[in-house]
């Protein structure tokens, strides 16, 4: 009768040996190739360190000018540019400038890498159904697997600090841009594609002159989501020694420093809102011609 009440399972000791065996082989892998893999990521690491150092060393008025400029260029809204500068000044005034610069350097590098990897994968997925079928479950896995499950092996390979943090952020923030690029291209009107075919355009022309431009709203929604998710990972990344706004949050969670936690948490929110609004406005402007306004 045991059959009905006890699910058949691997014996306790077999299970333990299996786990130990996998662990041991990972450890010997890490011992053998860890240094090489670390060396492979070194350029990325030094780029991150450099960028962070430049951002921290740069005089703050220059950073503010750059922020205002980028915000205005992206959104064409003086209000938004002014709001961004004001938030930066307030964050700096409350002593979080350095942490904010560290966070910004991590987030911007993560976002750039996500875009560089994500959009081509999304395009591939939209072209081949098989690629889509293969990659979709991987994306599901990336978005749901508990972070420390893959973070610990990464830390064993690469040590603590920025690169494993960056990898964690990318793993979590990459799926939206892939999904939305794929979706956006697939949603392009068949009639439009037929018209393009009628004009004798090849795949490249169709892709770059028809599909991607028409999919831009969705792609931009993806970029936007990617930035948001990257910011959401800041605290997790600091759990493996990444400097930035996440570190004080971590500290305050464990010590019940309410104000410290709130201040740094709100700074992350402020950054998120700025990035969000600017990228959304930029995305809207790109498709403004659709609605006949502001023809460029």
């Amino acid at each position: 009768m045991d059959f009905w009440t006890e699910i058949p399972s691997l014996g306790r000791s077999d299970l333990r040996d299996l786990k130990k065996g996998i662990d041991a082989s990972f450890k010997s892998f890490s011992r053998k190739y860890g240094a090489d893999i670390e060396a492979f990521f070194d350029p990325l690491y030094f780029f991150l360190v450099k960028l962070e150092k430049i951002l921290i060393a740069a005089p703050w008025p220059i950073i503010l000018i750059i922020v205002a400029g980028l915000a205005y260029l992206g959104s064409r809204s003086w209000k938004l540019a002014f709001g961004s500068v004001l938030s930066f000044v307030i964050i700096g005034y409350f002593g979080m400038w350095k942490d904010m610069m560290a966070t910004i350097s991590l987030i911007s590098v993560a976002t750039i890498i996500c875009i560089a990897i994500g959009i081509p994968i999304g395009i591939l997925m939209s072209r081949y159904d098989r690629v889509q079928a293969a990659i979709t479950p991987v994306l599901d896995l990336m978005q749901t697997i508990p972070i420390f499950v893959y973070l610990l092996p990464v830390v064993m390979l690469l040590g603590i600090g920025r690169v494993p943090g960056l990898i964690a952020v990318i793993v979590y923030a990459l799926p939206p841009i892939i999904r939305l690029t794929n979706l956006g291209i697939r949603l392009v009107d068949k009639d439009v594609l037929e018209a393009a075919d009628a004009f004798g355009s090849d795949y490249r022309q169709k892709l770059f002159s028809v599909q991607i431009p028409l999919a831009l709203p969705n792609i931009f929604a993806g970029v936007n989501q990617t930035i948001m998710m990257a910011l959401a990972m800041v605290v997790i990344a600091s759990m493996i020694g990444v400097k930035g706004l996440g570190m004080p949050v971590l500290q305050s969670i464990q010590n019940q420093y309410l104000t410290l936690g709130l201040m740094n948490g709100l700074a992350i929110v402020a950054l998120a809102i700025i990035f969000d609004r600017v990228s959304q406005r930029y995305g809207k402007r790109l498709q403004a011609h659709r609605y006949g306004k502001e023809h460029e």
Partner: protein, 334 residues
């Protein structure tokens, strides 16, 4: 709340019905703290108190500061088996003076402590290094990834009590001037992994750690003598253990003697006075605890599995903590 009411009611009815053993102890919440030796102790306590003393025990997960804050403010959980009091010394002693919290056992494990550690092979290869002071002259042995011209000292994870002590000692020993960087590993996982990674590859590693822990035994880590005496409780409690802005002039000092207590609430003391005798006798020898921790690590054992292993394997240790009658009850339950 409703659940609580029903459970107290049920406990009351039960007590009326059986009216001896159960009533002697009642239902108790115990902190199952989030590191191996504490979770082992909590689970051993749970088994012995439930089987031997008829208590009903619920384990509540928690960390040092959060568990202490909850015990201090709410009187829950009732028991913290392994409370490292350095982080919570002042409020804990205040609560003890007011009679809200009690130490049921000072130093429940022998040979424990915090400090700065290096792998033993680092000492073998550099026989001139005897103390922390010697290490501080050699940042070149521990090159930091970020800036290889500097030495890397791995501090204590953000938010832990020891984070402040490490930051202030870093300042006290003027380590920045001597060419060191303080790295915050962010979490215990980060701290452990950085040590494991270094030792697996035979690199030098210098950082904060504590015993009894599995990594210390497994990687052959050595706690370094600081080379300076303990510079007094005033320096430590009034400065080193405080936030950086409250510690203007930290003096170099060896690490304060770690004090670990099994802390209980007044409620528990009144309710389960027989169990207090058990706690009073319960001392884990450091080497037994060390072996148990390596066992837990090797077998990825949960607290409850490790507790059973301990009760089966080290019978001579724990049977001396309880009466023969209780011991036989616990044994038969295994």
């Amino acid at each position: 709340m409703k659940k609580f009411l029903t459970s107290t009611l049920a406990a009351g009815v039960l007590a009326l019905l059986s009216n001896q053993a159960v009533a002697a102890c009642g239902s108790i919440t115990m902190a199952d703290m989030n590191w191996p030796s504490a979770t082992l102790m909590a689970n051993v306590d749970k088994i012995i108190l439930e089987e031997g003393y008829g208590c009903e025990i619920e384990l509540v997960a928690g960390a040092t500061t959060t568990t202490f804050a909850s015990m201090n403010e709410k009187g829950q959980p009732d028991v913290a088996a392994e409370l490292w009091i350095n982080a919570v010394r002042e409020p804990l002693f205040a609560a003890m003076d007011e009679g809200r919290l009690h130490s049921a056992r000072k130093m429940p494990i022998t040979d424990l402590g915090e400090g700065w550690w290096v792998p033993s092979y680092t000492l073998e290869k550099n026989p001139d290094i005897k103390t922390v002071l010697d290490i501080l002259e050699r940042p070149d042995l521990f090159p930091a990834k970020e800036d290889p011209s500097k030495g890397e000292f791995i501090g204590c994870p953000a938010g832990w009590g020891c984070q402040l002590s490490n930051i202030n000692l870093f300042r006290a020993f003027e380590m920045e001037k001597k060419g060191w960087i303080l790295v915050d590993p962010g979490s215990q996982a980060g701290l452990d992994a950085s040590m494991a990674k270094a030792v697996e590859r035979g690199d030098n590693w210098f950082g904060y750690y504590w015993a009894p822990t599995a990594p210390v035994g497994r990687f052959g880590m050595k706690m370094m003598d600081f080379g300076v005496p303990f510079a007094g409780a005033e320096n430590w409690d009034g400065c080193i253990a405080k936030a950086e802005q409250d510690c203007a002039d930290p003096k170099p000092s060896s690490w304060t003697q770690s004090e670990v207590h099994t802390v209980v609430t007044t409620n528990f003391k009144d309710q389960a006075s027989t169990a207090m005798d058990y706690f009073a006798k319960r001392i884990y020898p450091g080497d037994v605890m060390g072996k148990m921790l390596v066992y837990m690590d090797d077998n990825q054992a949960q607290g409850i599995d490790a507790a059973i292993e301990f009760l089966e394997k080290y019978e001579d240790v724990w049977t001396s903590w309880v009466t023969p009658e209780v011991a036989s009850k616990v044994k038969s339950s295994l």
